[in-house]
Amino acid sequence: MGLEITFWIMAVVIIAAALAVILLRNVFHAALALILCFITVAGIYVTLSADFLAVVQILIYVGAISVLIILGIMMTREVQKGSPVNKLRIPAAIVAVVLLGILVYAVTATPWNISSQDPLTPTTMPLATKLFSENGFILPVEIGAVLLLAAILGAIVITRENKK
């Protein structure tokens, strides 16, 4: 019973915050709504018994990505102009609503193979075993490290002043 109440509260907050992100005129207020959305998504992870990922969500999204976004808003000074919409508003709304309808239909019509076992908790040690073990995901982890390095170097090169 408690899980259901928690889920519904967090679902309503997530949808409201996401709508605020795309509807608020002030860019900075939209960024704050985005942070609220990230925190509530971490709560959703907790209800799915993904404790490690909830902490990672708070650390990466709320701690790092939102700071980067607010820094970007500060550097570009577009707060006063707001976030106007382009002339694709009605086709985009039709596409989004049709996609939502198709997705909801597909999700509700498919007979999912729900397992009867309880989810694994705590997940930190099994996740580490899965990521770093011999026949696990060690190669994707290495590729992810290279990707992050390339992204850092790319960000530095792109933002550097051109002193010619």
């Binding site: 992100v21 992870y45 960000a155």
Partner: protein
């Protein structure tokens, strides 16, 4: 009615469609990046819901969600760098005015 996999998937679909609408309609490049983050979060919700309802002992979906987060971090860093470079060049990040590559 107890909470099941379908509830999480419908929530994820709704979040994804809101992010898609925002990414298609906004003209501010930073808002577009924020909407892409919303869509990635929606995907993460569905991955973790599948992981905990379909293969609760394997955690494969959670591993995928970690990789999605890695790619999201790389994407937002490079994306904001591009936005800042564009702003330095045009003094503007309105996507309607940035049409250098438009034929």
């Amino acid at each position: 009615m107890s909470i099941g996999l379908t509830h999480y998937l419908v929530l994820s679909a709704a979040l994804f469609c809101i992010g898609l609408y925002g990414a298609l309609t906004r003209r501010n490049a930073v808002i577009i990046l924020m909407c892409i983050e919303l869509m990635l979060n929606a995907v993460n919700i569905s991955l973790i819901a599948f992981s905990s309802y379909v293969v609760p002992q394997l955690l494969t979906g959670q591993v995928f969600a970690i990789f999605v987060m890695v790619v999201a971090a790389a994407e937002i860093a490079v994306g904001l760098a591009i936005v800042l470079a564009i702003y330095r060049h045009f003094s503007n990040i309105d996507t309607n005015d940035i049409n250098l590559l438009k034929w």
